[in-house]
């Protein structure tokens, strides 16, 4: 990066943190630390909710995913607007009426303390580890592309986030996220404009879209009922609804964003804003990836987008890399002729598709060479496509802005995670044991526990390189805990007869079932969510019957 890029990067990030610090001054009570404030408006809640879900890996991976597979990933988000409506109509009023700080407080109101604390513990473990991976993932890509040391990138990213989250609490998180979202949106729009401007003069935007369509990159809706296809209309609407309900309804990093302390209507509107904007936003990021693909149909793309890895392979196997590059160059020269032929006869795209299939096969062959010659190296380069494109084609200054976008996204998601981890620690574990502690002491515990979780996350990030596949790890980690968490909340909302003892043991059984399936079974990890939830929802009423028979007059358990 040039000096101008560094200046843009540092000034943007410093500006965001200063804005957050200024808007969150005067946080002197536990209430103001744990909640964003009574004066928070719905657009701040909406932006905060969107920023919490959009981590750095969203901006690194999603354009690369569209480059390879087109728009189909958008279907994963089709369940989100429906989840926002259900959440606003059913779950949010309950949380609001009970005036809870964390989602898990509801479980004590509905069941008992141990159900609350067990579920809160599942959240702490899963979110604590996931936030470590969310720091490590962008640090890994930035270090590979920009040459920054991974460890230092981890600690720098973690330290800035910890400082402003500990200083300003939830208020700083929400306020900073509005600035971070502004930078992210400006950066994405600039990147899209830049990608379109890189098309040759004789190739209009409309022709670019038509080229993408001819190569199957605009296939955004798959109405088939195939179960072996990961993203279809139906898996998105049904599976997506399930995942998004679990995430937004039971994950404190989101619950804390919309239970900000203001009126119910503001929280509702914030969630509905997310429901309206999320699909178009994901579509835009995917479309950006499609435009990157179109640019690389007309400009020679790299053989392998993780250049540092390819150079390491070249050092040990120069002849094989040179041969692949020569074939790649020949295919690109052919591609230009094929595109020219398609322009004169747009109805016939067969030759175009055949050429692209050969390019994809060659990319796979390169990945296989990387995997064969460097054991442990990632044979896929999709996460590097967007950043490589930015570095190779964007002017000075804009590169710094795009790196700021990635770091902003990392910080926004992590600050929300740390703030929620601190809140859960103090509200669900410290306060019940020290109900009479003075507010100043509770606030100090909240600050220290937020900092401690930050250190856990960065510490875990420092060891994350030991994991083979990072994204897989992030997904598997979430799926180990979400099912039972959603299950116990569903039991609470919809199975009125089930009481605390049955709910607790059903949740424990659900978690054991998921861990057993992950250890001994061959079930795809996305199914862990369904399994865990089904065990809790199915078992809780049965256990309730058993416990009711053995003790016909349960006492001390709220219904």
């Amino acid at each position: 990066m040039s000096a101008l890029d560094w200046a843009v990067l540092v000034l943007t990030l410093a500006g965001i943190v200063s804005f957050g610090a200024w808007r969150s001054r005067g946080v002197h009570t536990t209430e103001s630390f744990l909640r964003a404030g009574k004066d928070i408006r719905w657009w701040t809640i909406g932006l905060s909710v969107i920023a919490t879900q959009a981590s750095a890996i969203t901006f690194l991976s999603v354009p690369g995913q569209a480059y390879q597979d087109g728009l189909g990933f958008v279907q994963f988000y089709f369940g989100l607007p429906i989840a926002m409506v259900l959440l606003s109509a059913i779950i949010l009023p309950v949380y609001h009426r009970l005036r809870v700080y964390t989602a898990y407080q509801y479980l004590e109101e509905r069941f008992d303390r141990r159900t609350r604390q067990f579920t809160a513990l599942l959240f702490l473990v899963s979110r604590g580890l996931a936030s470590g991976l969310a720091i490590y993932a962008p640090a890994l890509v930035l270090s590979a592309v920009l040459g920054w040391p991974v460890l230092w990138t981890n600690w720098a990213l973690g330290a800035v986030t910890i400082v402003y989250t500990v200083a300003g609490g939830s208020r700083a998180v929400s306020r900073t996220q509005t600035a971070q979202m502004a930078v992210i949106l400006v950066g994405l729009l600039a990147a899209f404009g830049m990608a379109v401007s890189l098309l040759p003069p004789e190739f209009s935007f409309g022709r670019g879209v038509a080229l993408a369509g001819a190569l199957g990159k605009l296939e955004g809706v798959d109405p088939s009922l195939r179960l072996d296809t990961r993203y279809t209309l139906w898996s998105g609407l049904l599976g997506g609804l399930f995942v998004q309900l679990a995430y937004f309804g039971t994950d404190q990093s989101q619950v804390q964003r919309y239970l900000a302390g203001g009126p119910l209507a503001e929280s509702r509107r914030g969630l509905l804003m997310n429901g309206l904007l999320k699909v178009p936003m994901q579509l835009f990021i995917l479309f950006l990836g499609v435009m990157v693909f179109v640019v690389y149909q007309l400009t020679p793309p790299p053989l392998f987008f993780n250049r540092a890895e390819l150079e390491r392979v070249r050092a040990s196997h120069p002849a094989e890399v040179a041969s692949l590059e020569a074939r790649h160059a020949r295919l690109f020269a052919e591609k230009r002729q094929v595109i020219d032929a398609w322009l004169t006869s747009p109805t016939n795209a067969t030759a175009l598709r055949e050429n692209e299939a050969r390019v994809q096969a060659l990319r796979k062959e390169t990945g296989a060479l990387v995997a064969r010659t460097r054991p442990g190296a990632d044979p896929k380069d999709a996460d590097f496509i967007f950043l490589r494109f930015v570095l190779d084609h964007f002017p000075r200054g804009l590169i710094g802005l795009l790196v700021a976008v990635i770091l902003s996204a990392a910080m926004s998601a992590n600050s929300a995670a740390l703030s929620s981890l601190g809140a859960t620690t103090v509200v669900d574990f410290y306060r019940p044991r020290h109900p009479d502690a003075p507010d100043s002491r509770t606030l100090a515990v909240a600050r220290w526990s937020t900092a401690a979780w930050g250190l856990v996350a960065v510490g875990f990030a420092s060891f994350a390189s030991l994991l083979d596949n990072l994204i897989q790890a992030v997904n598997v980690l979430g799926s180990l805990f979400y099912g039972p968490m959603l299950g116990v909340f569903l039991v609470g909302f919809f199975l009125a007869r089930v009481r605390g003892r049955a709910a607790f043991w059903a949740t424990v059984a659900g978690e054991i079932a998921v861990l057993a399936a992950a250890t001994f079974g061959s079930l795809g990890f996305l199914w862990y969510n369904v399994l865990g939830c089904a065990v809790v929802v199915g078992l809780a009423p049965l256990l309730q019957r058993v416990f009711s028979r053995s003790s016909p007059h349960p006492t001390g358990e709220p219904t």
Binding site: M84, V85, A212, G213, L218, V221, P223, P263, V279
Partner: protein, 37 residues
């Protein structure tokens, strides 16, 4: 500023708007793919 006393009807319309927007997006994507196939 709206508050909790806002009529349920109005929320019903907002919920319908969110679902309708999703339906339009899905239909739009379906059409886009067929136009540029």
């Amino acid at each position: 500023m709206a508050d909790e006393s806002e009529p349920g009807e109005r929320w019903g319309r907002l919920y319908a708007l969110v679902i309708a927007a999703l339906a339009v997006e899905i239909a739009g994507l379906w059409v886009l793919e067929r136009v540029f196939r």
